[in-house]
């Protein structure tokens, strides 16, 4: 098998592992919620079994060993040896975590950590009380197999034992087909599963093996027969061969002894077309719920499609503009044609954008694990509540959110949630709560993580900030402003550095990560009640509703979501506070006035004539200002083009777009503009961003 094909199959295997793990965790949650539906246990078993099978095909020894142990325990539970109670469930969850780690190690090629694996395996085995299921090569007590002797076993020899064990026993004959070997399976592990059952006289029948000249190595000639004593029923036996169902011929006879006579037909010598060694996840699994039909697509292909659709939007817009300028613009057919074209383009755009979106559920599941680990290491009991799991976010954004959210959870544990005794003293329930919710709202995705801990201690934050020189000792800051200080690098109110946090590299990294995704993050807190962090992200990364404006002779685009209103400037309302700062009063509110041309270093529009227009900008963090421009042109949907990293440093410019006339126009980031104006201002005492 060529290496390329192997790589593809490997990739497929790990993708399937991810799905299987998700299913596993789902079912474990159901189990731990108290449901003892046998189907739940079966699904868990099958997930692990499938993971194990594929792992065996690729030679991931540790993974196979662990999965095997896990599987054994589940099997024992399935046959009613013990019940799943709280402690057992906890152990299963831990085992699932270890399994997930082993899969990751196998995927990355890193060495798995031996200790947690052995510990968990030992704990699992303790449940079952069996000896180490580690040796996959058990010793049977079969009759000796001499290759020279090709005669079937004497029926007589079996007859004796038959008499002794007649009632309630099952005679089983298991014949692998050629396909079984070709798909990389091996009868040995399957037969070794029989160990816990009481198996008597397991014999390998070699009567069908031809002489060496006629022997075709790829065919299957061997059959195993054995008698299973009372205690195991037919269904259980059949289930052991479940995963190779279809690849073998299995005969189970009640109340009989396995005998050579069961070999009435020679085993099927199937010369079915060679199957690639696919992981057994392709073996028939009967899911409880119908799986939605999906297609796996390379992310590159989707990106290309998204780009092309973006081009289409630009092209359509350019076409419309050009046609508008000509005489055919009046032709009714052309007008309707163009309108249809525009509508179709928008529809395609919307559809394509949703392709990359995935539900946040997988992210929330991972965070659940973070919560458990943090709870274990800090000793604080916490209930993790999630809402809006089905909310969909662009896949890349989802991946980038994992780290910031993990950090926020650790912060909640370290700083927010108090120790149990403090909570009880404050009249709060012993078990703390962390809530994580996701929802779509007005064209954005809003994520909120809140805890019911102690809230932000503003006095300490203030003190630390003064200490680090971020603010002056005399500065008066509102509560919201103090909360925002947490986003400064190097600020941490932890008195000790813990494993989880405290090094002071936290919230500013979170803020930058969120901003890199085009989002905003804010903190709200009530002392004694709790803290909540809000993240607002754009729904799509590529298209934006924009306001086309002109400043300093150039065209720029402003995100429509930031604009509250537009108005004309009258000189009388403007006040100049210093050489750099101007303010304007709008309906009683005094706001900083920023000239866009000046802020971008392109020349100041010094004439505050009546024809100057201004836009009232409202940022997510509720800082408003007025932006002065030459004129406001149009409102349009634009395709966001990333800037070459070398050009991205310009303050105030976040990206670029291509207008209908083919010219490049920069997209303004209002918050960056405001921050930039503040750093150069000496009057406003806000901390520099």
């Amino acid at each position: 098998m060529s290496t390329d094909a192997m790589q593809d199959i490997r990739k497929t295997y790990f993708l399937e592992c991810a799905e299987l793990m998700e299913e596993l965790i789902d079912e474990l949650e159901v189990l731990c919620a108290g449901q003892h539906d046998p189907e739940t246990i079966n699904t868990i078993f099958r997930s692990i079994h499938s993971i194990k099978g594929g792992a065996g095909a690729f030679g991931f020894a540790t993974l196979v060993r662990f999965a095997h142990g896990f599987e054994n325990v589940l099997d024992a539970m399935r046959s009613g040896r013990f019940l799943a109670d709280g402690a057992v469930c906890q152990m299963f969850i831990k085992a699932a975590d270890v399994l997930g780690d082993l899969i990751l190690d196998a995927q990355l090629g890193t060495e798995p950590e031996g200790e947690p694996i052995e510990e968990t395996l030992a704990a699992l085995n303790a449940l079952v009380g069996t000896s180490e299921p580690d040796d996959i090569m058990p010793d049977f007590a079969p009759q000796p197999l001499a290759l020279a002797v090709l005669d079937p076993v004497e029926a007589g020899a079996l007859g004796e034992t038959t008499a002794a064990i007649k009632s309630g026993s099952l005679g089983v004959s298991f014949t692998p087909t050629a396909a079984l070997y070709q798909s990389g399976n091996d009868p040995m592990p399957t037969l070794s599963q029989l160990k816990p059952c009481e198996v008597h006289t397991l014999v390998c029948q070699t009567s069908a093996v031809p002489s060496l000249e006629d022997l075709v190595p790829e065919n299957s000639y061997l059959t195993w027969t054995f008698t299973a004593l009372s205690g195991t029923n037919q269904a259980e036996i059949a289930e052991m061969f479940d995963f190779i169902e279809g690849l073998c011929a299995l005969k189970i006879v009640e109340n009989g002894a396995a005998s050579a006579s069961m070999l009435d037909q020679p085993p099927e010598l199937q010369t079915s077309p060679p199957l690639p060694p696919l992981p057994p996840a392709n073996a028939p699994i009967k899911p409880r719920m119908p799986h939605s039909s999906t297609v796996r697509v390379d992310l590159d292909r989707i990106d290309r499609l998204v780009n092309l659709v973006g081009e289409l939007v630009i092209n359509q817009s350019m076409l419309s503009q050009h046609i508008d300028a000509t005489s055919v613009a009046q032709d009714p057919e052309i007008v309707t044609g163009l309108e249809d074209f525009m509508r179709l383009t928008r529809d395609i755009q919307d559809s394509v954008m949703t392709i990359r979106a995935q539900p946040v559920k997988s992210l929330f599941q991972r965070l659940n694990r973070t919560v458990r680990e943090a709870a274990a290491s800090t000793g604080k009991e916490v209930k993790f509540v999630t809402m809006g799991e089905a909310t969909e976010i662009d896949k890349t954004v989802l991946e980038q959110l994992s780290e910031p959210l993990t950090h926020m959870i650790r912060n909640a544990f370290d700083h927010g949630l108090e120790a149990v005794d403090l909570r009880v003293a404050a009249g709060k329930p012993e078990i703390g709560q962390i809530k994580l919710s996701a929802e779509h709202k007005s064209g954005r995705v809003l994520l909120e993580m809140s805890d019911d801990g102690a809230g932000l201690d503003r006095a300490i934050i203030r003190a630390k900030a003064i200490d680090k020189g971020l603010i002056g000792a005399e500065d008066a800051l509102s509560d919201a402003e103090i909360d925002t200080l947490l986003f400064q690098p190097g600020l941490s109110t932890a008195t000790q550095v813990s494993d989880l946090s405290g090094r002071g590299v936290g919230m500013d990294v979170v803020k930058r990560a969120i901003q890199a995704l085009g989002g905003r993050v804010t903190i709200r807190s009530t002392w004694g009640k709790g803290t909540s962090v809000l993240i607002s992200l754009p729904l799509t990364l590529a298209i934006m509703e924009g306001m086309i404006i002109k400043a300093a002779g150039q065209t720029f685009v402003l995100p429509l979501s930031a604009i509250v209103e537009t108005f004309r400037i009258c000189d009388s309302k403007i006040d100049r506070l210093s050489a750099d700062i101007e303010v304007i009063s709008v309906r009683g509110e005094v706001l900083p006035l920023i000239d866009l041309g000046a802020a971008l270093g392109l020349g100041l529009n010094t004439n505050h004539t009546a024809t100057s227009a201004a836009l009232l900008i409202d940022t997510d963090s509720d800082q408003r200002f007025a932006l002065q421009v030459e004129s406001i042109e149009d409102q349009r949907q634009v395709v966001i083009k990333g800037l070459h990293c070398a050009t991205r440093q310009s303050a105030g410019v976040s990206a670029a777009t291509i207008l209908g006339n083919g010219r490049v126009s920069f997209i303004i980031d209002p918050i960056a503009l405001l921050d930039a104006s503040r750093t150069s201002a000496s009057v406003l005492a806000e901390p520099a961003a």
Binding site: T647, S650, A651, V653, I658, V664, A676
Partner: protein, 161 residues
């Protein structure tokens, strides 16, 4: 079009020769993606003076670097006949603005001469080597040097409003 008359040797590489201000340079052609005529540039706010701005290259936003300014030469007023050489940088394509493009030259290792060991001059810092050809001395541009210093330099653009 003049052709290089030196006998081709084993390690001859192709170089694109072009004119910047009033001097000739050349560039390894494997780095060149395309050559196009200059188009109106959208100026980039807060950029160093050698970054003229960006243009629309078939849907991609392409930054344009004025090579004359970058190499520290006295820059001529904007010439509408100028040419943009699109090269592949480590962070994406960049367009180099030059006066004109001349030839494709085949230069072999034997034609190369080392640079004089004079430190400190801007123009020399961006050169990789010199080549002595029939038509005269030609300077080989070090593309990495031209592009490499350029991101960090942008980062220190002051707020001068």
């Amino acid at each position: 079009m003049s052709t290089n008359a030196s006998p081709p040797s084993k390690h001859a590489l192709d170089y694109l020769s072009f004119r910047v201000a009033n001097q000739d340079f050349c560039l390894d052609i494997s780095n060149v993606r395309e050559i196009r005529s200059g188009s109106p540039v959208t100026p980039l706010p807060h950029a160093p003076d050698y970054m003229r701005g960006v243009i629309n290259l078939r849907g991609t936003v392409l930054p344009i670097m004025d090579l004359a300014r970058r190499l520290g030469m006295a820059h001529a007023p904007d010439d509408p006949r100028s040419v943009i050489i699109v090269v592949e940088g480590s962070a994406g394509p960049i367009g180099l603005l030059v006066r004109a493009v001349s030839d494709i030259l085949s230069i072999s290792m034997s034609d190369l001469r080392p640079l004089p060991a004079q430190a400190g001059q801007n123009g020399i810092a961006f050169l990789q080597a010199l080549a002595l050809l029939e038509r005269g001395l030609i300077k080989l541009l070090d593309l990495e040097a031209v592009l490499a210093a350029h991101p960090p330099a942008l980062g220190i653009a002051p707020h001068d409003d």
